[in-house]
């Protein structure tokens, strides 16, 4: 019978190998790029003053720890069990027809965060970007219905792929026909589409409709509160200031 400890040692075996490789990479990278002796910045180096000394020490220790961890795991599991586990993992991967629920949930969080930070943060107004992020991530996890989760997520990924294409081809400027803040208008449309998709999934259940209402209210209110506090109270410029900031600026400077 496989115990929790066995499962943990299997993970340790894999992570030990990764650490060995990582430690070896740190050492070779340091030896290849950092001068161990000679002159740098007017300083004559000897091995013990070299900027490479500490990374070599860390890399060597990580390599050693990786070996020890792998050894501990191998001793606990035994060679036959490791081979069996590797074979079982390969065949299990080959037999996967559907993404298991925990993997889907992990992937959904990471993908939505990746899109929010790497794809939209420098392109779309912070308020709109955060609203889009919250309008997707809250319903996906709060509606708590597997099919709805996957549909909303798939819709978001498909829409984001379309937006990537639009940004990559520089079509956002052309679609707007000179309209100011064209990417923000596109994001606004996309957010409305995501909300509509979520609404479609929640329809028919009073409980889910109530949850979605809370989710969408939070998606609009939280960025306004957080972004507003940073922009107008702490005077921190936002990562990207576009359509909503222009409107808020007009209101703020009109009032004060």
């Amino acid at each position: 019978m496989t115990t929790d400890k066995d499962r943990m040692r299997r993970k340790d075996f894999a992570s030990g190998i990764v650490l060995m490789l990582f430690g070896a990479w740190v050492v070779t990278e340091t030896v290849a790029r950092v001068p161990m002796k000679g002159s740098w910045g007017g300083v004559m180096n000897v091995w013990y003053v070299s900027p490479g000394l500490f990374p070599i020490f860390i890399g060597s220790v990580l390599f050693l720890f990786g070996c020890v961890l792998t050894g501990i795991a191998a001793r606990h599991l035994g060679g036959a069990a490791i081979r069996e586990a590797a074979r079982a993992r390969v065949s299990a991967l080959a037999e996967i027809r559907d993404i298991p629920e925990p993997v889907f949930r992990f992937l959904a969080v990471v993908v939505i965060l990746v899109f929010y930070i790497y794809l939209y943060m420098s392109r779309i107004d912070f308020f709109l970007n955060s609203t889009l992020f919250l309008a997707v991530i809250i319903p996906v996890f709060y509606l708590d219905e597997a099919q709805a989760q996957r549909r909303i997520f798939a819709f978001y990924v498909a829409g984001s792929a379309l937006l990537i294409a639009v940004f990559a081809l520089g079509l956002d400027g052309r679609i707007g026909g000179g309209l100011p803040h064209a990417p923000d208008w596109l994001a606004l449309l996309f957010t409305a589409a995501v909300a509509a998709c979520a609404w479609g999934q929640a329809r028919g259940s009073g409980e889910r409709t109530r949850k979605l209402r809370l989710a969408l209210s939070m998606a609009v209110a939280a960025p306004l509160l957080i972004g507003g506090m940073f922009k107008y109270f702490l005077l921190v410029p936002l990562p990207r200031e576009g359509l909503v900031v222009a409107v808020l600026d007009a209101v703020y400077f009109g009032l004060f």
Partner: protein, 506 residues
């Protein structure tokens, strides 16, 4: 004479802070925020400090410390609300509290239990504060004798000891985590010769990884993924009656409180362990010392008083190595160290010389924060617990937005966000594989100290490691490090087993 002068200065600072409405408002606001953060399952005091650091960047060091210590004290205490009312610890530090707190709530004594934990937490914080103010100058004065070799070994000791004690599985995983933190610290230009290391051609990496991006990534992102990625279900909240601090109950538990506070301070002073370990150890000690240990688990007040005294007294304990040596005693203290550095205060032996009143200032803030926590706990507890009805699937994404804008806001640098997410994802996998995260952050913070002092020491000794074996403090540190490592090895355990078998009385 010096003692009386220091006491005078302390009261002057205390009165100065306590009479400024802005400071009081900040203190009560931050403490309340801390209690809310602690009460919400999934959010911790560490994350609270990390997020508040970004908001305090424009303040001076003193008001920033008021806010940060307020949220720290409130955050550690607030965890007990969720433990008692819904049987889900608001923070890891309050996990032990749930064992007795929830059965008490089931008996209809939630209000009385929260009254007891509030008073115990307040007393715990005050005892921790007393140890902090007395021990920090002593340790600092001792540390002034240290040279580069000692500082290198001290950093190394911090990583090894926190790795050993913080690891939920094998100790080696804690050490690996610490060394990965040291590697992160190597990125950027080296501190002595400004040679670029592991920058991969990115100019943004030349100044190294931003401390807030790393800490928010390491502590915040895994929590977001865990709460959203898991199938988190909030328990049904128990009804809470009026919160009553029972002074008779506290008086009967005087011995329990003192013992638990001492455990908390002791655990807090050891680098990188933190409030959760202190609470569990105090719970175990209270059970062992009890006349009716069999009743533990059914809802006994000794249990909740022990855990809450210990986790709050741990705060003062964790600040001792932080201020005297620059080594954080717990994960929230690690974040506090980052915040102090951002505010231009470098903790360590020179702190008392560069900022003579800083320790007294921290003492006064801790005193006021514990009072603020008690007042809020007694007066506003029934309102604060309403946040427990808020679903984590809704507030966690909002915390993600806060993490992101907070990480960006310090350097106004998008690159911080690009660093934060990968660090967070790696930290998530490490957590899943039972690698502790606190040593990673401690390694990252102590990395420059270790690197710089190792090379400086070798420069002075012309490449000789001999001083490590001839200087008494070095020798002690080296011995402790070696013994800590050896104690985790199979050979050592086998020898210990053989010795025990030969001498059953051992």
């Amino acid at each position: 004479m010096i003692g009386i002068e220091r006491l005078d200065t302390f009261f002057a600072i205390l009165v100065g802070m306590g009479t400024q409405p802005a400071n009081l408002l900040l203190l009560f606001g931050a403490t309340l925020l801390g209690i809310i953060f602690g009460a919400l399952p999934g959010l911790t005091a560490t994350l609270g400090i990390a997020l508040l650091t970004t908001l305090t960047y424009g303040m001076g060091p003193a008001p920033a410390m008021v806010a940060l210590l307020g949220i720290y004290v409130g955050g550690v205490y607030g965890g007990s609300y969720a433990s008692i009312l819904i049987n889900i610890p608001g923070t890891p530090a309050a996990a032990a509290t749930a064992l007795e707190g929830y059965p008490l709530a089931c008996k209809g004594e939630a209000g009385r239990a929260i009254g007891a934990t509030t008073t115990a937490s307040c007393i715990g914080t005050l005892i921790g504060m007393l140890f902090m103010v007395t021990m920090t100058p002593i340790v600092s004065a001792f540390a002034l004798q240290f040279t580069s070799f000692e500082f290198f070994l001290l950093a190394f000791f911090g990583i090894i000891i926190s790795g050993t004690l913080a690891s939920p599985d094998l100790a080696i995983k804690g050490w690996i985590s610490g060394f990965l933190g040291l590697f992160l610290a190597c990125m950027g230009r080296d501190p002595l010769q400004a040679f670029p290391r592991f920058t991969f051609g990115f100019p943004q990496l030349e100044s190294g990884l931003d401390v807030v991006a790393v800490i928010i990534g390491a502590f915040g992102i895994p929590q977001i993924i865990q709460v959203l990625g898991g199938t988190f279900r909030a328990g049904e909240a128990r009804q809470m009656t009026r919160v009553m601090p029972s002074f008779g109950l506290m008086a009967r538990n005087t011995g329990n409180i003192i013992r638990s506070a001492l455990i908390g301070v002791g655990i807090g002073a050891v680098p990188g362990i933190g409030e959760d370990v202190a609470a569990w150890m105090a719970y175990g000690a209270a059970k062992n010392a009890s006349k009716e240990p069999g009743k533990f688990g059914t809802g006994v007040y000794e249990g909740v008083i022990a855990t809450e005294t210990a986790n709050n007294s741990c705060i003062g304990g964790a600040i001792i190595p932080l201020l005297s040596l620059g080594i954080p005693g717990s994960p929230p203290a690690a974040m506090l160290l980052g915040a102090l550095m951002l505010h231009g205060v470098t903790p360590g032996p020179m702190l008392s010389i560069e900022h003579p009143n800083f320790i007294l200032q921290v003492t006064a803030i801790l005193f006021l924060a514990s009072i603020a926590m008690w007042v809020i706990g007694i007066v506003l507890a029934r309102q604060v617990v309403k946040v427990l009805r808020f679903p984590p699937q809704v507030f966690m994404p909002v915390v993600a937005v806060l993490c992101i804008i907070g990480s960006y806001g310090l350097g106004l640098n998008l690159f911080n966000l690009y660093v934060m997410l990968p660090v967070g994802i790696v930290a998530y996998f490490m957590t899943e594989m039972k690698y502790p995260i606190a040593p990673l952050v401690i390694g990252y913070i102590l990395g420059p100290m270790a690197d710089e002092n190792l090379r400086r020491a070798l420069m002075i000794s012309h490449g000789s490691f001999l001083p490590m074996f001839t200087r008494p403090v070095c020798l002690i540190l080296l011995t402790v490090i070696l013994l800590t490592i050896l104690s985790q090895m199979g050979l050592f355990r086998w020898l210990k087993g053989r010795l025990r078998a030969k001498n059953p009385g051992m």
